[in-house]
């Protein structure tokens, strides 16, 4: 399928200043996102995988400017997002939306389901007439398989899976082209996760959405994503098609990450690479390649240069100075 580039991220950085002292001085920075570049094509699902401290959540929020990037460019349909003025930013919010991880804190407990889903419509002044707005909300809810009976109910009457569906309906209210899904199934029961993943897939197909699917669960990501990007400590380690990343990873971290994922099939147990040590602090990342302190293939040169993304196949890139691993 011929897809155009919808979103292009170049050298994105988000550094948080650390202030100490009675008269606060900046003593260092937490490098949550450090020089990340990638693109997302229209109608594609890009999976963003990583562990804690990887920066994946910050990346997702930076794309929508819910967190202001420290530096870097983000172009959406050719327009630069980082420099949008407030009213242009508002219009941008019609095209790009977000689904949150926690179905309990993402819905205002004092609002009805109708009010929750209608909020983006009201804020964006779409469908000002009350009656028609309610109809539109009902249509959105049925798209996510929530019956109209729930329009006047409150979140506490719904289960986790139902709440997550409401969150999805809310994100779809303004008819966006792009959705950031921040760990959308992590807080749900296992039997409900599959329902929500199916729902996202169906919606993606029927509405032509592009999705940034942020998760720590590589198995779910393999199922739903077209391409996968692996991040560690604020930096992109590897990016490529979902199949290639999972079946032939070319970066030592990806290899370790995949081997750490426990497989329910006992016949498929394989030799696991157990990484030593803990994830370093983002306030004090290792010099050169940030993964070198836990990498079993590390050589002295790894401490000197920050590896750039190099091509290892069509559309497949890795950030590692060694060609011969894993």
């Amino acid at each position: 399928m011929n897809r155009t580039t919808l979103l292009e991220v170049t050298n994105l950085r988000k550094w948080y200043a650390i202030r100490r002292g009675v008269i606060p001085r900046v003593v260092g920075h937490i490098r949550a996102v450090d020089d990340v570049s990638f693109e997302i094509k229209s109608r594609e699902v890009l999976g963003l995988a990583g562990e804690s401290g990887s920066g994946k959540t910050t990346i997702g929020r930076s794309l929508l400017r819910l967190v202001e990037p420290t530096s870097g460019q983000i172009t959406f349909n050719g327009n630069e997002v980082t420099t949008l003025d407030p009213s242009a930013l508002r219009r941008f919010r019609r095209k790009a939306q977000i689904i949150f991880q926690d179905p309990y804190s993402s819905l205002d407990p004092r609002m009805t389901i109708e009010e929750i889903v209608a909020e983006p419509l009201r804020v964006q002044a779409i469908e000002p007439e009350r009656r028609r707005r309610r109809d539109r909300v009902a249509a959105l809810l049925s798209k996510v398989s929530i019956s109209n009976d729930y329009l006047d109910r409150r979140p506490r009457e719904l289960s986790g899976g139902q709440r997550q569906r409401v969150g999805i309906a809310r994100a779809l209210a303004v008819d966006p082209e792009f959705i950031v899904a921040d760990e959308p199934v992590a807080s749900l029961d296992v039997s409900i996760q599959a329902q929500i993943v199916n729902l996202l897939q169906d919606l993606k197909d029927s509405l032509g959405l592009a999705i940034l699917f942020i998760s720590h669960d590589i198995a779910v990501m393999r199922h739903i994503a077209d391409r996968i990007a692996i991040v560690y400590l604020g930096k992109l380690m590897e990016i490529g098609s979902a199949r290639e990343i999972v079946e032939s990873p070319r970066h030592p971290y990806t290899e370790a990450l995949l081997s750490a994922v426990p497989n329910p099939d006992p016949r498929q147990r394989r030799q696991r690479i157990v990484l030593g040590g803990d994830i370093p602090s983002p306030a004090n990342p290792p010099s050169g390649c940030v993964f070198r302190t836990r990498c079993k293939y590390a050589i002295p040169a790894c401490a000197q240069t920050i590896p750039q993304l190099t091509a290892v196949g069509a559309g497949h890139y890795k950030a590692c100075i060694r060609d011969d691993v894993p």
Partner: protein
């Protein structure tokens, strides 16, 4: 045949608030042999954590019925459910220990790690501070904690999640219990750290010969660590057996549906829809009639599955299943 370490018979746990009472655990029975690892698997609300707490005497329930017979280190066999709180304090940590999902809430934030390990050791084994310190240091190094000396003087908030979990394991094992109950100990951890902790638990088990009751919702973790598994739904055990057998030929429709709905790296499902289970986990206060899973089961037969609650039946050697139709719905070609 080895005498079992733990025998649970007809354990039921009733919770109540002002308006209603609900049965969190419904007449559960199982055995645990010394040195074996059994996984208790289920989703939220199935009662698996409650069983762990009930065995430890920590469940804040209105009423607990049934017996929990433990073989003590000195050879006695006693029913833990009969013991007073005072007597249970001697049991906890010494005979049975428990580790939890969130180490931060089980570690006291105002005391150093060393203090907390010492407290555990001296409570059960007495001895001087110096000897307890030495034992603590030993324990931490055994657990592969780098710079154990420094760790002893650190406070919980100064450590990472994985480190805190290791400390919690160290405290739990400081008095060499014969049974470890692990309640979702790796759920809150990154997958690479989870791998480390599971390796650690397996190694410690090989060294100490303790049994582990591992409570989780993650089948991948079960595959890594357990020999046998028990699947729970709505407060009852619905299937047990050797894990490999249960995985490859699940008898209870819930187990089968759950395993089918999991995306995992071992099989390619991309481009297809996941086989999701319709509906949702039932509210313990309003369970369906008959078999609790029937509203979501694709093998449901009216007037059968909704009218009586299926008993546990033996389906093979060491396998039990709770389903009225299990014989009819066996997948062809499976034992």
């Amino acid at each position: 045949m080895m005498a079992s370490l733990l025998e649970v018979r007809d354990l039921s746990v009733h919770y109540a608030d002002r308006t209603r009472s609900l049965l969190a655990v419904n007449s559960v029975s199982f055995d645990l042999a010394p040195g074996e690892t059994v996984a208790l698997v289920g989703e939220s609300g199935c009662g698996k954590s409650t069983i762990g707490l009930a065995i430890m005497g920590l469940a804040t329930a209105k009423r607990i019925e049934g017996t929990v017979t433990l073989a003590f280190k000195n050879g006695e066999r006693r029913n833990l459910a009969d013991l007073s709180d005072r007597a249970m304090q001697d049991v906890r940590g010494n005979e049975v220990a428990m580790i939890f999902q969130e180490p931060m809430s089980s570690l006291n934030p105002v005391h150093t790690i060393g203090w907390q390990i010492r407290e555990a050791i001296t409570q059960h084994q007495g001895g001087s501070r110096a000897s307890a310190d030495g034992a603590a240091l030993n324990l931490l190094s055994q657990l592969g904690i780098p710079d154990a000396e420094r760790c002893l003087h650190a406070y919980p908030h100064q450590l990472s999640g994985g480190m805190r979990q290791r400390v919690m394991i160290a405290i739990a094992l400081s008095c060499r219990p014969s049974l470890l109950i692990a309640d979702e100990p790796t759920t809150a951890l990154d997958v690479t750290v989870q791998a480390q902790i599971l390796e650690l638990l397996k190694r410690l088990q090989a060294e100490t010969g303790m049994a582990i009751l591992f409570i989780t919702h993650n089948f991948g973790v079960v595959a890594e660590i357990a020999q046998r598994t028990m699947v729970m739904y709505a407060g009852q055990i619905v299937e047990t057996g050797d894990y490999g057998e249960v995985f490859h030929s699940p008898r209870m429709p819930y187990t089968r549906a759950l395993l089918d709905s999991l995306p995992h790296l071992g099989r390619v499902t991309a481009g297809t829809r996941l086989a999701a289970i319709p509906g949702q986990v039932p509210n313990p206060a309003a369970l369906p009639s008959g078999c609790a899973f029937h509203p979501r089961c694709r093998y449901f037969v009216e007037n059968l599955c909704d009218s009586r609650c299926p008993p546990l039946e033996q389906s093979a050697n060491h396998r039990v299943v709770r389903c009225l139709r299990w014989k009819e719905i066996l997948a062809p070609g499976q034992p």
